[in-house]
């Protein structure tokens, strides 16, 4: 039986929606494919503070997810870092079983980033994608009027922008789906708002193969 945990690390407030979009779209796609899936946000310390590291979780399984109420992913197979600097400061690799995938939003090459990864031996691949560039991301401070309320709501309750992945989430989703196949490309593609960045990312991934796990 296949069971995959995906943990997205992102920064509070300023990149909250991006992280939320990734777990929501992947779990929704998995449901469409008939799998069991769950997406949720970090609750326990609810770190909805600007720049604070926060996590979003996604679980995809062939069978019923029994640990539905466990509030964090204890063994993430896939880890996504929505902001590249997070590679330095956090033990995002904790609990990762061998054969994992790490996806980082950065303009650096994997060869540079690998030095910061704790426990890289557990990785099957390190994927770097310059999502900010591909999505022409201007961070928080343009479109203030549109984004104002979206940013206030870490729970997503007051989110006004209903588009999924209009921004840097799109290339990151492309990277996750292409390198891990956690869901099918054709199920997830239609829900992505920023199709251009999504497609560009498929061609512009920097994948560093590491230690594959013998099946």
């Amino acid at each position: 039986m296949s069971y995959t945990e995906l943990t997205v690390w992102t920064r509070g407030i300023i990149m909250d929606k991006e992280g939320r979009d990734i777990v929501n779209s992947i779990s929704a796609s998995a449901r469409l494919e008939g799998k069991f899936a769950q997406a949720m946000e970090n609750y326990v310390d609810n770190p909805d503070r600007t720049n604070a590291p926060t996590r979003k979780y996604c679980r995809v399984s062939d069978g019923v997810i029994e640990n539905e109420l466990t509030y964090e992913n204890e063994q993430p197979n896939i880890v996504v870092l929505v902001e590249g600097t997070m590679v330095k400061g956090w033990d995002y690799m904790r609990g990762m079983p061998p054969g994992g995938t790490l996806v980082i939003n950065t303009h650096y090459a994997p060869e540079y980033m690998i030095r910061f990864v704790p426990g890289a031996e557990r990785l099957a691949q390190l994927v770097c994608v310059d999502a900010a560039k591909l999505a022409d991301h201007k961070w928080l401070y343009y479109r203030l009027g549109e984004l104002g309320l979206d940013r206030l709501s870490t729970e997503g309750a007051a989110e006004r922008n209903k588009a999924i992945a209009p921004d840097i989430a799109a290339p990151l989703i492309a990277a996750v789906v292409k390198t891990t196949g956690v869901v099918k490309m054709e199920t997830i593609e239609p829900m992505i708002a920023n199709k251009k960045a999504f497609h560009m990312a498929l061609d512009e991934l920097h994948i560093m193969p590491l230690n594959p796990v013998a099946v």
Binding site: P47, T50, N51, K88, G89, W90
Partner: protein
Amino acid sequence: MSTKGTRIPDWLTVPFAGITPAPSQEKGQDLFPTGNWRAIRPVYRDKLPPCNNACGTNEKIQGYLDLVKRGKYLDAYALIKEDMPFPSVTGRVCYHPCEQACNRGKYDEAISIRAVERFLGDLGQALARDVVKAGKPNGKKVAVVGSGPAGHSAAYQLARLGYQVTILEKSPKAGGLNRGGIPDWVLPAHVLDREIERLVELGITIKPNVEVGKDVTWDDLKKNYDACVLAVGLTEPNSVRAEGENKDGVLYGLPFLRDIGMGTSKVKLGARVAVIGGGNTAIDCAREALRQGAVEVTMITVEANPEEMPASPEDLHDMLEEGVDLLHGRAMTAVLGNGKVEALQLHSARFSGAINASPITVDREVPAERFAVDNVIVAVGQRASLGWLPDEFKTERGTIQIDRFGRLGDTNFFAAGDVVQLGSGQPLMVVNAVGDGKRVAFNLDKILRGEPLQTRTIPVDVIFDLNRMNMTYFPHFPRVQQDLLPPTTRRKTQDEVIQAFSEQQAVEEASRCFSCGTCNACDNCYLVCPEPCIVRDVRSNGLYKILVDYCKGCRVCIEECPTGCLEGVPELDFDTGVVRMDTAFAISPGLHGRQAEELRNLGNRPAKNI
């Protein structure tokens, strides 16, 4: 009992009722480092202020203004003395390129840097012992030929480096251009005398009345000294090559001033005096002429208007206040008179090229004018007298040939000052000569110690753009003006025209400094940091520390840095510096147990002194 047999595991031990002992000031709150919230790290990187950059000898102007502002005058004086041997002189005579470059000039008015420098120079003069000490003797002897600004500067720096320095001066008194080129009412003789005394106090031997080529030869210098600095200056006045220039009553600017300065002048001026030339020396001559008894002084320049004159605007202004007339667009083509000058023949003329030593086009088609005078002072520049110099080191311009380190070929001879700078595009100004002497001294030292030479090629980031600073911190404030003697009284005396700053004025003016690109310990970052993770033990420039374990990268400090010395660097550019944590909560097992223990021992801890 329901709580019987329960046990709180060690890693979950919490202090009594959650009461948490306060972090100590020294240790900080070490349980929850937040450095990994940061994507951009603030870094202190001082840039070069434009004043420092523009100064001929790169005085650390921002540095001493800052010290003056804080009342640390002696420190400020010591700082200025690193680059400038005689701030009391430059504080009076400098053409202050620093003030032209001053960023404050784009905002309201430039800082009156020269006046502050003079304040410090006078302070230094009043000291019983100078703050500067001679270096540890290294047993090497150096001769410095000429005691003008460049020679003075080179000798001073070499003495500080431990050399046994001998100055050879052609005149009976040391001082060179400082003495012979600058009138008393700008630079009183006693000020210069004191600065020369300071050289003697540094152990420098001054030999007056020793002229190279006459009293010593090139070979003597080579034989008797380990190295030699040639700072002989430009001693010979240029003529305008006009007919009858040899008549009585025709004077030349530099010898005119020099003789007065040395006290050997026998000149008696008539009532009407003309000065030929539009530079600073010409202005000094014109003003000196008034003081020497002239009634009507006219300055005749080729330049078509005052703005084009290669002179300091303030000096020009002060001259006009004293009643000197200007006659523009004329060249003197002949001196008329029977053995003695009676009148000048003037033709209209213009410069054919840029200002300074460019060919002059005289319009001979227009009839000449006759201009009646009793004396004429020709002040159109000087040239060097280099008969004693081996030909291989002479240039076509009549200056000394040096390499980019100031060295003559592969000899241990160096040359500095006007004698190398003439025609190089560098204005022939005291401060530039001082800078030249300083740099040559350092290179000489390197040669003798066998170290590689350095030119000033280090790339410097000079702040010219006000947007790189936070201008909201700078209210508009007018420049503090130096008092002047009233024109009517000053034109007859040798008293100093420009008056010194009082202490209060100096502090006031120094406080206007933007401190462009340079930390001046204003405490702003320290105060606005929300963490607060900017710390300092003592308040001093460059001694702030950012605790990278805690900085969240909000960049408020960068935004609020008035001087622009803080900048943001992407965190990923650093290989190190971010704390790694086991959990997102920053709570490792047992940390609170330790806290609980601390709380239990609170009573045993010495009480905080409040």
